[in-house]
Symmetry: C2
Subunit: 311 residues, 2 copies
């Protein structure tokens, strides 16, 4: 495509103005991708905060006003809210519009949204693999998607032109784009994102419950490794509840493997099998190297952070 | 103490010149804490690399030459090597010297080292809660201990003056110092460091084994959370093997709790208990806040890292 000089879309509606929604808005503005951004958020308090940051042209607490005449509609709310959103907006969608999302699960999104999509509207789910542990309309920034991957999971017989435009959209937001089917997406993300979040939440909960070790000790000595898990375990609770409720099958499958492997490690520790431990610990180093070489993480020790004590 | 203007020690021997040993050397030089630093490393290749970096006054592949006349001897090798080191150096230790270490377990260090300590030598184990995922004599830097905690576990009836000097030493290396008994240390560290490392190694191993998801997919989409675990799982394999072999009891206890809690989460996902998930995910956010407020981690989103894709 050679359309770098004019906006890709006349009007884009963002349904949900948290970390991801607001980051899309900032990145669209950076790339001049839309003539008009319409922001929708049902909670007045959150809508007011978003308006104070000021990343859209119009602000809506009614979904009809937000999606009317939109060329692209992006759902950026917790996935548990999608079915209700889709049903409410369906009568108001423009023929030829693209309907997409940013949800971390894709099978459930197909299941919940597809039945409501009117003929002539192109439904193409998307998932940018990007985020931070922060949330809300103040948390967004234009660079969030730079260099990260965005996975599109078009249903069979999707419109090729709509897919091409959405691909171009995510490229101009800074992402690299990959296409796969929803089922495979959900399995890949179970291992690269969902189960890691679950075990991070779990270890932080276990630490909090251990009455023989005080919370202040857990906090003081967290630089031994624990603190890394707390970052992930500070992610948005509603979003993550919905992820686990909506990717049950893949999460339980990967979790089963994880628990099996952990039992083997537990046994190696109990029986003093140093070779088994050493072999695993050596193998895992190579994966880290691959991630750094692929530009998906910093090579600096400790992620380059340098937390100084407070005075 | 008011001795900030002259070196605390005449001669300090560092037994092991990896990340921690070399960082101590750099920090001692920064603070002018020793008139002479003697570096010991049995492998000629590693000794040559350390010498090339140049953070000691003398270099030794024989332990006798390293510890002779030393006022402070610090073992900074994997803890599995301590018993052999202690036995070999014992006849050559100066009366009045302090013998210490940096090992991540303390009960086993007491067990392995104490029997070899000659009368008149003050044995006070130590554990700085600091590190990076890198290893070797090139990995050290003077700021590693700044603002981190160092835990001392003096045996009963330790010499008070020796304990005071070692406390002052770690303060001048940049640390805050805490004293506790070895058994409690091992339990605290099991939760704040050892089990987090074990589950990080484990999830990276599980991902590597999942034949339905390719390694390149794991790497590409690692920004969803997985990449955080790979940093920890890139830590030194020998050191970590020895930690698990030498803190078996506490690690198995915490691991048992972790697995119980994970089973409960698994069940919540299977039965769609969103409230149980939401409640845990909300509770864990507070711990992160505590760690940031305590100056033990960066408040910046994503640890402040900003990995750009390679061209």
């Amino acid at each position: 495509m050679n359309t770098d000089t004019k906006p890709l879309f006349g009007r884009v509606a963002l349904l949900g103005l948290g970390l991801i929604g607001s980051s899309i808005a900032h990145a669209m503005r950076r790339g001049a991708l839309a003539a008009h951004v319409a922001g929708y958020e049902p909670m007045p308090e959150v809508l007011a905060r978003a308006r104070a940051v000021g990343f859209a042209e119009s602000w809506h607490s009614d979904i009809e006003g937000a999606v009317r005449d939109a060329d692209l509609v992006i759902m950026a709310a917790p996935v548990g809210a999608y079915a209700g959103l889709a049903e409410a907006m369906a009568p108001h969608l423009k023929t030829g519009a693209i309907l997409s999302d940013v949800g971390s699960v894709k099978g459930a999104v197909m299941r919940d949204v597809a039945p409501h999509v009117p003929p002539g509207v192109h439904f193409i789910p998307a998932h940018p693999i990007a985020g931070t542990e922060q949330s809300g309309p103040e948390a967004g920034f234009a660079e969030l998607f730079d260099g990260r991957w965005c996975i599109l999971t078009p249903p069979p017989q999707s419109d090729a032109a709509a897919l091409a435009v959405l691909t171009e959209f995510w490229r101009r937001l800074g992402s690299q784009v990959e296409v796969m089917d929803a089922r495979h997406h959900d399995l890949v993300l179970a291992i690269t994102s969902h189960v890691p979040h679950l075990i991070a939440y779990n270890i932080v909960g276990t630490a909090d419950d251990l009455s023989t070790v005080t919370e202040s000790e857990v906090i003081k000595y967290s630089a031994g490794g624990f603190r890394d898990f707390t970052r992930i375990a500070a992610s948005d609770p509603t979003m993550w509840r919905d992820v686990f409720l909506n990717n049950r099958e893949a999460v339980l499958e990967v979790l089963g493997r994880f628990s099996e492997d952990l039992s083997a490690l537990q046994r190696a520790i109990r029986w003093g099998d140093g070779d088994a431990l050493f072999n695993l610990f050596t193998r895992t180093r190579a994966i880290r190297r691959g991630i750094i070489d692929a530009g998906q993480d910093s090579a600096a020790p400790n992620f380059g952070r340098n937390a100084k004590p407070k005075a």
